[in-house]
């Protein structure tokens, strides 16, 4: 029981299968808004001198496309991007985390309306908690967003997910918009939501958005094995238990603008009570662990363009997160009720304060520079009933400073930045982690062979690290305060082909492909133990990953029939080359756990007048489970799901209606994303939206 220690592990090496692959990589990129969008949306008031061409690979889903996707939350939507792996522990309340280019979920920065969502405790943001209901856009950047006018935090992760909520938009003299939506479906889903937008005057707008999600989380799953002669060895179907969820979210925002200033402020609250569905193992087909969350944050952002050459931005945030975790499973044994496993009744209280300021200056029309300084404070308290170990009570003070510059030399565009991070920690008990000072650079270049032509080539290098989390450092019996930060060095080479057609059957073609190589040193890996709340830490010394991310988007129309196709394909090879005390582990050179060599996604949409049809497909190829070694015993079969949705929009008495139905996992495939955490089979959803 005191056995999880964490030793480092491993490694990688990489061979590409064949170059042929490179050509077949289906491209994809889900991007930009399209002409198909029947709901208009306006860009937020952005004060930028000139539009800057994306130097950095970006994939995004937005607007109506996002709405039509058979996805409830941000994690579900991110599955369609190339180079992304989602860890999904199943169940309605199960944890969902995202990992980009096999560098680990801790290296993915998650930004909500421009400001990072943190989790100093375990460093992982549960993207299943972010609803798509009020989301306008979900974007993924490899490296970082290609903008120098951004906070130091924006430079501080190896890849970044930006979630942007809907901005209010008003037709002519309308002052108030109201949207009501109700979703229902299998697994006893009930999901009402409300969005109110109001315009006080042309410079001040407000929104309120509220949502409730309820599901009993009970769905069928099946484990079946055959004997070699094809006869059934066992075939068991059971109901997933304790994966229910009851969650509320309410957020409100104010948007203001005047002269050269724009600002927005936001309040957010999310509360949930959920079951933590455990691993389905022999003789244990249900567990009774519960989790209760309360997340609150207030954040604001102000941009001011002082003169033609100088502008600044200020961001501020306060966040308070509460998590209660309860594990008191008991069972009858020889006429007594006895405990079944280790008991927990723990509450965690986390507070974060964040302040940021960015200053950008135009030195020459083609040359810009910026400086940003961020300060962050994190504090973690806990009460743990029945646990007598004094809690560490860590507090962390982080200062980040970024210096960035961009140059537009016509067909060549350059961007470079360096980020300095200083971290100091204090603890009430145990030993504080030593102070850390790290510098990390990034360089980007974009080359356009023909001016305003369809091709763009890009190359970048980025070095960045992530700090060990409070859990990594201080978790009782597992944490180790002397952990070092984990570094990634990422090299990327890619191109974009983008062509818009007029007066043709085809409207637009977008294709992009990027090859990358990333090296992760001092890698700290968190794997699930019997309970998804606790992690088993392993410090994988060295991982090398190579891959290709490709995506394509095609828009076309025939008369009133409009079509859209998004494809994405990723190839990745991520190997573990760690040695422990100079010894190679038995898994030396093997592909790291849960990393498919091949994965792809398809989204196809057809719109005919008021009717819309959407199809999506996700394929995750063969991979190996958490037992690491690439041996038959650890092999996991591919999984793939087909989702289909149909919607119809109409207007009565100036009320716009939209009704849609979905069938997800059409082929009723029973699969696990994470071993022993079964996912739902075929399920249905129905949604009715009313816009006043």
């Amino acid at each position: 029981m005191t056995r999880k220690r964490l030793f480092p592990i491993s490694v990688h090496k990489i061979l590409y299968r064949s170059l042929v692959c490179t050509f077949l990589y289906v491209p994809i990129n889900v991007c930009a808004q399209s002409a198909l969008d029947s709901i208009q949306h306006i860009q937020e008031v952005v004060i930028t001198a000139k539009p800057f061409k994306e130097v950095i690979p970006i994939q995004k889903l937005s607007g109506i496309q996002l709405e039509k996707l058979s996805a409830m939350n941000v994690a579900d939507a991110l599955r369609y991007f190339s180079g992304v792996q989602i860890k999904d522990f199943g169940g309605m309340g199960g944890l969902k985390t995202v990992n980009v280019r096999n560098m680990g979920s801790h290296h993915v920065g998650v930004f909500y309306d421009g400001i990072e969502v943190g989790n100093a405790q375990n460093g992982v943001v549960d993207l299943g908690k972010f609803s798509l209901d009020n989301m306008e856009e979900v974007a993924l950047y490899n490296g970082q967003k290609s903008d120098i006018f951004q906070s130091a935090k924006d430079f501080s992760s190896a890849s970044a997910v930006y979630m942007r909520t809907k901005r209010p938009h008003f037709e002519k003299d309308k002052e108030t918009n109201i949207q009501l939506r109700y979703r229902t479906g299998s697994i006893q889903l009930s999901n009402p939501s409300l969005q109110i937008e109001h315009r006080f005057n042309s410079n001040l707008k407000a929104t309120v958005n509220a949502e409730h999600i309820h599901s009993n989380g009970q769905y069928k799953f099946r484990y079946k094995r055959l004997m070699m002669n094809g006869e059934v060895a066992y075939d068991t179907t059971a109901i997933r238990k304790n994966s229910d969820i009851d969650a509320y979210r309410i957020e409100t925002a104010l948007f203001g603008a005047s002269n050269n200033t724009s600002w927005h402020a936001k309040l957010y609250y999310y509360g949930s009570d959920r079951g933590l569905p455990g691993a389905i193992v022999k003789n244990v087909f249900g567990s009774g662990e519960r989790q209760n969350d309360k997340n609150f944050f207030a954040q604001g952002s102000l941009i001011r363009e002082v003169n033609e050459k100088y502008k600044f931005k200020i961001n501020a945030k306060f966040a308070y997160d509460y998590t209660h975790y309860l594990s008191r499973d008991s069972v009858e044994f020889l006429n007594d009720y006895v405990t079944q496993k280790m008991q927990f009744d723990n509450s965690y209280y986390q507070q974060d304060v964040y302040l940021s300021t960015v200053h950008a200056y135009e030195i020459k029309p083609w040359w810009n520079a910026s400086v940003s300084v961020d300060f962050e404070y994190n504090k973690l308290n806990a009460t743990m009933r029945g646990v007598n170990t004094p809690f560490t009570f860590p507090q962390r003070y982080t200062t980040l400073a970024a210096f960035a510059s961009s140059a537009d030399l016509g067909r060549i565009k350059l961007q470079a930045n360096v980020l300095g991070t200083f971290v100091t920690e204090t603890v009430k008990n145990n030993v504080a982690s030593p102070d850390k000072l790290e510098w990390a650079p990034a360089v980007f270049m974009n080359y356009e062979p023909i001016e305003s032509g369809p091709f763009n080539f890009r190359v970048f290098y980025k070095r960045i690290f992530r700090m060990p989390t409070f859990n990594d450092l201080y978790y009782t019996q597992i944490g180790y305060s002397q952990l070092k930060p984990e570094f990634t060095d990422q090299y990327n080479l890619g191109f974009t082909y983008n062509k818009v057609f007029h007066h043709a059957f085809l409207d637009k073609i977008h294709f992009q492909s990027d090859m990358y190589y990333a090296r992760i040193t001092n890698k700290i890996i968190a794997s699930p133990t019997g309970s998804s709340f606790r992690w088993m830490m392993t410090n994988m010394g060295l991982v090398e990953t190579k891959g290709v991310d490709t995506s394509a988007e095609i828009l076309a129309h025939v008369n009133h029939l409009k079509g859209r196709l998004n494809l994405s394909y990723s190839y990745s090879k991520a190997q573990d080359f760690t040695k422990i005390n100079g010894l190679k582990m038995s898994s030396y050179g093997d592909q790291i756990p849960y990393t498919p060599w091949h994965s792809l996604s398809v989204i196809g949409g057809l719109q005919f007048l008021q009717w819309g049809l959407n199809y999506s497909f996700i394929y995750v190829g063969e991979r190996y489970d958490g037992a690491v070694n690439n041996i038959e015993r650890n092999h996991v079969e591919p999984w793939y799901t087909h989702d289909l949705s149909l919607d119809y929009s109409f207007t009565t008495n100036r009320i716009k209606w939209r009704i849609s139905g979905e069938v997800n996992n059409l082929l009723n495939q029973y699969y696990d994303v994470v071993l022993n955490y079964p996912m739902p089979g075929r399920n249905y959803r129905l949604a009715l939206t009313m816009n006043l």
């Binding site: 094995r225 070699m228 405990t339 309970s531 792809l600 190829g621």
Partner: protein
């Protein structure tokens, strides 16, 4: 238009090329490997090795080594018992043979698996929540368990020892002992169980409970040292019990209890992680982990139980101990005195089994399962 159809074609090709379909899942098959020369005339047919498997992975497996053929078979259970849903289970913790049956204690699957020792075929499973170790006496099996009557405060529950009738394979009695009980030894009608208190860090238990088997009641509680774990008994009735320490200030240690007086008679100041009694020799190793330094110090040794003197600070004498990342299981063949040491690596990946000659020279090494740990010898 071209591009559209071209893309579609390319895409279809991709699907065909890369998206190999999902195959049906088949039962896990055993794999065998010749690791040693054949040996005839041995009284011992072979041994079962229980791989614990990491928590939540459902990866407890049983390997078998056959002395007659010199073959090592990994993961034999599921192939022999294909109809058992979800195979052996989650986290194996102990394996013993008694009579014609083999008993595997599967901790996180909350049961004891009973199978025929010769054929490996499943006979019964006996549910015991959070079960840890097993010992036998007079036709009965005794299983220690961390589970205890639900209390108001988490982890204030005492564990128990349950009794199983090995003929009917039913549970008969239980007795509440200390906190999170671990290994046991039995002397005549007395059962000794080492209480760890592992859930109660830093308030570890420090006692051995003495149970009178006929009445199945505690007759004495012996104060020994914190976080007790291993237990062995020698021919003269001296009981050896290991204390794991607290991984910070208190080092692991080894205590001796006199089973006549039921009192601690000696503290040997030897760090011990695992013990194996063979004749008058007590083999041990230690991987004393310290959170203060973040390192493991690995030591091996053999103790002469007659005078409690360390005979040797080495079990492995050919220098191959430096290849073992994390010694975990330790066992000595009672017939040949060959020594088996398992390497759990980082507890996540596939581990190894090492076989040494009685004088500590490596004979063979083979990959086992995930966290290879416990060995039970099967006589012909």
């Amino acid at each position: 238009m071209h591009f559209f159809s071209l893309s579609m074609t390319l895409f279809s090709i991709c699907i065909l090329v890369f998206t190999s379909c999902r195959d049906d899942a088949y039962v896990y098959l055993s794999e065998s490997k010749q690791v040693a020369p054949r040996r005839i005339n041995s009284k011992i047919k072979g041994f079962y090795l229980l791989n614990e498997g990491n928590m939540g992975m459902n990866r407890a497996t049983i390997d078998f080594f056959n002395y007659d053929t010199g073959e090592y078979f990994t993961d034999t259970y599921s192939e022999k018992n294909p109809e058992v849903v979800k195979e052996l289970g989650d986290v194996g913790n102990d394996i013993e043979i008694y009579g014609s049956k083999c008993y595997a204690v599967i901790n996180c699957s909350n049961y004891v698996e009973v199978f025929d020792a010769q054929s490996g075929i499943h006979i019964a499973s006996i549910d015991i929540p959070n079960c840890r170790y097993i010992k036998f006496h007079d036709g009965k099996a005794y299983v220690s368990s961390y589970s205890g009557p639900v209390g108001l405060s988490p982890n204030a529950e005492h564990g128990f020892v349950a009794e199983i009738d090995t003929t009917s394979l039913t549970l008969t009695r239980k007795v509440i002992v200390g906190y999170q009980p671990e290994e046991m030894v039995i002397k005549e009608n007395k059962l000794y169980v080492a209480n760890s208190g592992g859930y109660r860090v830093p308030n570890y238990d420090r006692t051995v409970s003495v149970i009178d088997i006929p009445s199945f009641e505690i007759i004495k509680t012996i104060d020994v040292g914190i976080n007790l774990h291993r237990m062995e008994i020698d021919k003269r009735g001296d009981i050896y019990v290991s204390s794991r320490g607290d991984y910070y200030d208190v080092s692991p240690n080894l205590y001796v209890i006199d089973s006549d007086s039921d009192e601690v008679k000696q503290k040997l100041d030897i760090p011990v992680s695992e013990l194996c009694m063979m004749g008058d020799s007590l083999y041990y190793y230690s991987t004393a982990y310290s959170f203060t330094t973040g390192t493991n110090e690995v030591t091996y040794g053999i103790l002469d139980t007659r005078d409690k003197q360390i005979v040797s600070h080495k079990i492995i004498k050919d220098g191959t101990d430096k290849d073992i990342m994390m010694p975990y299981g330790l066992s000595v063949n009672p017939e040949t005195k060959e020594i088996y040491i398992t390497d759990a690596q980082n507890y996540v990946v596939t581990g190894y089994l090492y076989c040494y000659s009685p004088d500590g020279v490596l004979k063979w090494k083979t990959p086992a399962g995930n966290i290879p740990a416990h060995i039970a010898y099967l006589y012909k």
